[in-house]
Amino acid sequence: MTSRLKDNMILKNISLTRGLKTIFSSLNIEFLCPGLNIIKGENGSGKTSLLMMISTLLQEDRGTIIRFGKLKKNDWLNEHILIKQNSSLSDELTIEENLKIWCGLKGWDFNTDKIEKSLKNFGILKYKNFLVSECSSGIKKKAELSKLNFDESFKLKCWLLDEPLNHLDENGKLFLKKIMDKFINMNGTILQTSHEKKINHKNFKIIKL
């Protein structure tokens, strides 16, 4: 726990191109660790690309990213979650199976109780046996965010959330705020992109792109 407090996440002199388009050139950011970092910017300013780059899905052209004291790539993959804007649930499986298999793929224990508990907190327990293709986008989003509500998720170092508030209703937003606060209190770091003006968290930093 103590060592984690010293760790930090810094982007130094990053430049990134996707295809022929230059997205960043010499970007320097120091993130608040632990704490909530809210990334703001216009459409097309590279918010999603930034998260994808931090999560190693995109390769930076120049510069260095210090991820919690230079974690190795494989360790880093196991130490964070990226929740993308469009859901990453398989249409052919039910919500419960999706989450169960997701836990399994992470190498965590999976049992029905654990998943039911997480779904119940988000208020979508009754949809657990629905195929994902039959669900509305709000329920898909909640199911997606239930991934954050497992015990193992709180032990991670970092959550990368791309527009987590889209499609969510009031209860969903409240509960998301609750688990985000819980995670920050457990010395976690959150990078969140958002268009919302009002921010209810205590300890946060706004990063403008």
């Binding site: 993959l77 990453s88 052919e92 499986l93 298999i101 399994g104 992470k106 999976f110």
Partner: protein, 227 residues
Amino acid sequence: MKINFKNILIALIEKEFKSYLRSINNFMNMIVFMIAIIILFPLTVGPSEEKLTLVSNAIVWIALIVSIIPTLDKIYISDFKNGWLEQYYYSPLLLEIIILIKCFVFWFFLIIPLTIFIPIFSILLNIPFLIIFWNIIIFAIGSLGFCLIGSICSSLTLGTKSNNLISPLLILPLAIPIFIFGNGVVEAVKSNYDPLPNLYLLITVCLILLIISPLISAYSIKIALTK
């Protein structure tokens, strides 16, 4: 954090098995396609038995290969579209191994059941029993290699414009060694030679693919994910 690799394997196999089970109409499509080709051949070649015995073995093979290709070149596309390939990328297990398992599951649940149809079609076309037996063996081995080639081609074409027909174009030239050696086995059996050398060559090709294919597929999937 403790990572339980047994859980990863179980989850992976469960996922693949369930999604194949729920898209069972793919499997039905394959069978319907096969039957259509088998019926078309006698109609176009003519019903005389001498002509048919010359090409009967080829008919069975063409029916199998052509019916597999449309499913094979979409082995990753649905996972790519709904984000599961990314989840595979984040898994602590190496992507190469996940791909290998995925190919095995595909082969075991979708391709191996097709071997039941080889004897049925072969009887329709009067193929001798000995050759039916060898056909089943060659198909079981060769189709694994075929799946691995399909894995390369479908991972290369991830993210292309929809409705393009490139991957069949890629699969066929790469699969030529499998066809040549598979045909070599049958020819050897027909003319009473030893079929084993060709069979060993076929197995060698499949073993080489077993090593190369996951590496190339994983590399091109990683490229596709960054788009």
